[in-house]
């Protein structure tokens, strides 16, 4: 008897829950619900949350649920897509974006752009577009623009009585750059490389520091008239003279001229901004995003385009923001996409130095420029060294077009690891790498 009573009660509870659930669904059905996924530092998290709050104020009929995924982003978003519960709008790593677009998991936004005069290919920096299907379709642009540049501590230049690098791209030759690096490098006894008694094992200040991943290396290969791949992305040019020469020159900075730290030394070094501030390094090759931390450090910051081998080149890169094809509300998702990639809604991050605007007008219109260039953050030469540099010499990173880039990138990184440790020369390493990556080449998305 008792059991029967309980089961009746149980049924009642279930029915009541169902009713409540139904009521809840009906009440919220009036609002369109979107999910927005993103990664990033705590600062980016806050800025993105504020951006979404402003969006909901502007469009009260849309409710956005922010989903912050600070680690294992791709794995988690993959799981969401596989479970048929994808985000509506969100960031995506370069390696996934284009394959997912081809497989139909990420939306082609060309039909949406055609109906909306606000977004056109011309309205944003030309190199920030992720194109596929032979260039006929696009999944959109980066979330923010980023370029590789040379950042330096002006105090160290003043102390060594060395002229600052020219802010105009193409005016600083490689030899002048090496001379500058030598003049800035000194060992424990204050001696420079090349002087009698110079001790390369006890260097107090290095002239320059750079990472060995593709972004600090490839612009120099390009600048030397070379490339890692042919125009169709079907053959590698990595062991051709232009590429090999540029990479050997970078390697010589470490092992021949002793003006740059080795990769194993870099392992224990703190972040670049600390290296510049503590005068351990005078110049660093790093992305524009570094400006956030550099601007907050206590030294006089300078910025310059990368030194030129034959022609000035600026490497542009950045992970895209996309609309996931599984969205049930493409119109609202489009509104959110536009909002999240528009400079005015993420201005705090741009003014802080972390991001750069995507919209071309922020680079060409002086009034718009003043909206984001911030005193105390962007150095005085920034306009010439970064804005003009990217407009005139900007070139998109291979992640924008190379198929199978993730695997190729890794194979290049692994293949050159002994080269960067100073154990072999560029030609030997490049010949081997060319052999390993040739079977991995599958052409381009945009050709």
């Amino acid at each position: 008897m008792l059991a029967k009573k309980w089961s009746k009660f149980g049924i009642l509870v279930i029915v009541a829950t169902l009713c409540l659930g139904l009521v809840g669904t009906v009440a919220s059905a009036a609002k369109v619900k979107l999910k927005y996924t993103y990664w990033g530092s705590p600062l980016e998290k806050k800025a993105q949350e504020d951006m979404l709050k402003d969006f909901m104020k502007a469009y009260p009929h849309i409710e956005v649920q922010p989903i912050y995924i600070p680690s294992d982003y791709v794995t988690k978003v993959t799981a969401m897509v596989a479970a048929n519960d994808p985000p509506d709008v969100g960031q995506l790593a370069e390696a996934q974006a284009l394959p997912w677009a081809e497989e139909g998991a990420v939306l082609d936004i060309t039909p949406l752009m055609e109906k909306d005069p606000e977004v056109s290919y011309e309205s944003r920096l030309p190199m920030t577009w992720y194109l596929y299907d032979g260039g006929k379709k696009t999944l959109g642009t980066n979330l923010a623009a980023e370029v590789m540049a040379l950042w330096y501590n002006k105090d160290l230049f003043d102390q060594a009585d060395v002229a600052y690098p020219p802010a105009k791209a193409g005016e600083w030759t490689w030899d002048e750059f090496v001379e500058t690096a030598i003049a800035l490098t000194k060992d424990r006894n204050g001696l420079h490389p090349g002087e009698a008694g110079f001790d390369p094992n006890n260097i107090e200040t290095y002239g320059v520091a750079f990472g060995t991943w593709f972004a600090p290396i490839l612009p120099f290969v390009w600048s030397n008239g070379g490339d890692w791949f042919n125009d169709e992305g079907t053959e590698t040019l990595i062991n051709q003279p232009e590429s090999v020469e540029a990479m050997q020159k970078l390697n010589d900075l470490i092992y021949k001229y002793h003006v740059a730290p080795t990769p194993t030394q870099m392992q224990t070094f703190p972040a670049f901004n600390i290296l510049l501030q503590t005068k351990k390094v005078a110049m660093v090759v790093d992305g524009q995003w570094a400006l956030l931390d550099l601007a907050q450090s206590r030294f006089t910051l300078g910025v310059a385009p990368l030194p030129t081998l034959k022609e000035p080149v600026c490497l542009e890169l950045g992970a895209p923001n996309v609309i996931f094809a599984g969205t049930k509300h493409p119109q609202e998702a489009w509104l959110l996409y536009k909002w999240s990639t528009s400079a005015s809604s993420v201005m705090p991050l741009i003014k802080a130095g972390l991001w750069m605007p995507l919209q071309t007008e922020y680079y060409t219109n002086p009034e718009k420029m003043n909206e984001w260039l911030t005193e105390g953050v962007h150095p005085p030469e920034y306009k010439e060294a970064i804005i003009d540099y990217v407009l005139e010499n900007g070139r998109r990173a291979p992640a924008y077009y190379m198929r199978n880039w993730e695997e190729i990138d890794r194979a290049i990184g692994q293949g050159f690891s002994n080269f960067w440790l100073g154990k072999e020369d560029a030609q030997t390493a490049a010949n081997r790498v060319a052999e390993t990556i040739t079977p991995l080449l599958q052409g381009r998305y945009d050709r």
């Binding site: 794995t75 997912w100 194993t264 224990t268 199978n404 990184g413 692994q414 440790l421 079977p439």
Partner: protein, 300 residues
Amino acid sequence: MKKRYYSLKNMETRWGILMALPAILGFLMWSLLPMVASLVISFTEWSVVSKPKFIGFANFNRMFTQDPLFWKSLYVTAYYTFLSVPAVIVSAFLIATLLNQEVKGLAIFRTIFYLPSVVPAVANAVLWLWLFNPDFGLLNTVLGSLGIGKSLWIYDEASVLPSLVLMSVWGMGNTMIIFLAGLQGVPRQLYEAAEIDGANFLQRWAHITLPMVSSVIFFNLVMGLIGTFQVFSQAYVMTDGGPNNSSLFMVYYLFRNAFQYGRMGYASAIAWMIFLIVLAFTLVIFKSSPAWVYYEGERR
């Protein structure tokens, strides 16, 4: 109401199954089902976001004939296993023997030797990253002060795996504890009888200790083998599989394929390959065990 009778045996069976049900269900849902699923996936081309496409044995064909990195990862993993498992077992056995003696501060020593295995894998990896640093690391500082040349440790193709083995020996606390339990289970009267007969320490060790703990060695050997074939975090956190793919462990290569290159089918095929290899080795050890493992109360 009708009265029902239950025999004691019936009731025991019912309760037994009921109590074991969570474990059984857990195995079915979280182990067997994913295994079957991954076996099916290993015959497909699947990037997770697309629809899986059945491609027969193409993944296995690619593995054996077209992918030099798979062979590299197999070699790296086997090399590491055959170096690390014996090193860990010998050192754990040795230290367990020492910790089985009656010395002052025994509890402290046991804690000290066990402590490293409490450290989380990633924290452990970061710690050793510092120790291994060629320019500022503790290991090279010690070597330098002894007048021995410096090593590049994990930054050199030739020394990266021995370095990682050294690190695995440091974390052998769990193996050691099992040995210690085994050593303490050896009956005292055997040693006493041997002593009366005039056996010295080495004879007692070889003829009593070793046979009596051979089942523990067997257990640790199998567990160690399974564990080292699945080594991952060292490559993920410390070396990124490098330099020049010289620490590209199989599970790390599998992870890259699954979550970075979007090749879930190929990754599943690699997973099954690892499973088959570990299965083969385990069977060999099991088959060989009657020849060298002694179980008390078992007559051959």
